[in-house]
């Protein structure tokens, strides 16, 4: 018995694959936007070296617990906790909502630590210069500290975002119809598992490359400027 690859059997289900790509991109887009904002907020809370801009102790502790909890447990456990566990506490979420929340919460924790590294690398002199120019705390953080911080850590952020996008493949386990779910469904119908996973492997690869270029382009244009 030779392995005869029959890609047409898989590609014939292109509407399913297309829907899968759309869901994977939607999950990633929400995770990137909300997760990064959450990460920045948490990084601000946890970031040291601001003197009087320190957040209250209890908030620091809370964010610390959040970051450690998420970074030290597997994504699938977090996802199952939200989807299968929370209904017991009265929060019933659809598979899609649970996936969105899990992705945002997951990226938020990692982004917090990555961005914090960038913030802490900001020379004190810059902050002092901003204060001496009568910028208030928010202006100092948003205009002086954050842009160079993001620029320093952007390659790390992009890697983490790609990891989270690839991690969205786990969301198919709770019946969110993303790309891996599509492949699993196709191969369970026509038993072309090898071809199905080659096809989505290539799609994930292309999505990752495109996402990296897209994020670099967007960031250079809107977040911290070129040069």
């Amino acid at each position: 018995m030779r392995v005869q690859l029959d890609f047409m059997a898989v590609l014939a289900d292109w509407p399913l694959l297309l829907k899968g790509v759309a869901w994977t991109l939607a999950l990633t887009a929400v995770a990137v936007i909300v997760g990064t904002l959450l990460g920045i907020a948490c990084a601000w809370v946890r970031g040291r070296g601001f003197g009087d801009t320190l957040a209250p102790r209890w908030l620091q502790a809370l964010v610390g617990v959040y970051v450690e909890l998420i970074r030290n447990t597997p994504f699938i456990v977090q996802l199952f906790f939200i989807f299968f566990g929370l209904p017991a506490a009265g929060f019933k979420l659809s598979a899609e909502t649970a996936s969105f929340i899990a992705m945002v919460v997951n990226l938020g924790a990692y982004a917090a630590e990555i961005i914090r590294a960038g913030i802490e690398a900001t020379p004190r002199g810059q902050i002092e210069a901003a204060i001496s120019l009568a910028l208030n705390r928010v202006q100092t953080f948003v205009r002086v500290v954050l842009p160079p911080a993001l620029k320093k850590v952007w390659p790390g952020m992009v890697s983490q975002i790609i990891i989270v996008m690839l991690g969205s493949s786990v969301c198919g386990q709770i019946s969110t119809q993303e790309l891996s779910y599509a492949a699993d469904l196709i191969q369970s119908r026509n038993f072309r598992s090898f071809e199905a996973f080659i096809v989505i492997g290539v799609i994930y690869l292309l999505l990752s490359v495109a996402l990296r270029h897209g994020l670099n382009w967007v960031a250079a244009r809107f977040l911290f400027g070129r040069g």
Binding site: M1, V3, S175, D184, Q187, F191
Partner: protein
């Protein structure tokens, strides 16, 4: 780009070569290596599940050991999920699939089946408060099902288009979705569902609609007629001497009944 291209063709060639050397040798391989690799379920009580000592037990596991004993070889159990059962055969991770495997035309295209060895039926289950007299009543309702299982295909044929079918990776996830209220109905094998309802009396759920009466068969890789014939002999003999009924009584609480060939 050249070296990348070359590497890719080498990989493909190696893959094809490794696949080409397998032709009707499964039985000989089993007898030579003295081990029979059997794909079994661990999420389908009482056919195959994990006992209190964390080892797989159940009717399918007993059947695997029974065949191993008759062949005079050791049995290596390979736990698989519903969706993995057929790929496990195709990739030779298992010589036999004894895993609540039903027979249908799509599956017969890619693997071969022995005669049936145990009874099974699939159905839709749901809470008593939610009436479902026919499949039309499932319109607009969410139904949990295990991806790639027989229930998945059967449900697709009979459920109205507006049914929200939620597919999960294995029976445990499907059951968890129903127990946690994430789906309104659930399509499962009868014994699996029976076990679920016994463990979760608070759900107050019941049998609703029959999907399919489908006894279990043992799957062998396509074209492995020598192995298939030998296993058929073993099953036929076990049917005659009552061993099949003994196993069915032990795990299902009733004799195997009339099983198709």
């Amino acid at each position: 780009m050249k070296p990348t291209k070359r590497l890719f063709s080498i990989a493909i060639a190696a893959l094809l070569a490794s696949a080409a050397v397998q032709a009707q040798t499964a039985l000989d391989d089993v007898l030579k290596s003295k081990t029979l690799k059997v794909a079994i379920p661990t999420d389908s009580a009482p056919y195959g599940y994990v006992g209190t000592d964390l080892k797989p037990i159940g009717l399918d596991i007993d059947m695997a050991n029974y065949i191993g004993k008759k062949l005079g070889v050791a049995v290596e159990l390979v736990p698989v999920t519903s969706a993995n059962r057929i790929p496990a055969l195709q990739t030779r991770k298992a010589d036999l699939v004894i895993s609540t495997l039903g027979k249908n035309a799509e599956r017969e295209k890619v693997i071969d089946f022995t005669i049936a060895y145990s009874p099974f039926f699939q159905a839709v289950f749901g809470p008593k408060t939610l009436p479902a007299k026919s499949f039309a009543d499932l319109a607009g309702k969410s139904v949990g099902v295990t991806r790639g299982a027989m229930e998945d295909q059967e449900l697709g044929k009979v459920a109205p288009p507006s049914t929200d079918t939620k597919r999960f990776e294995d029976n445990n996830a499907t059951i968890a979705a129903f127990v946690s209220g994430q789906v309104q109905f659930v399509a499962l094998g009868a014994s699996v569902a029976g076990n679920m309802m016994a463990k979760n009396p608070q759900l107050d759920s019941e049998y609703k609609l029959l999907l399919k009466d489908s006894p279990n068969f043992i799957g062998v890789a396509k074209g492995e007629d020598k192995l298939r014939t030998r296993v058929n002999e073993i099953i036929a003999e076990a049917k005659k001497n009552g061993d099949i009924d003994t196993m069915a009584k032990k795990w299902l609480g009733r004799p195997a009944g009339d099983l198709p060939l």
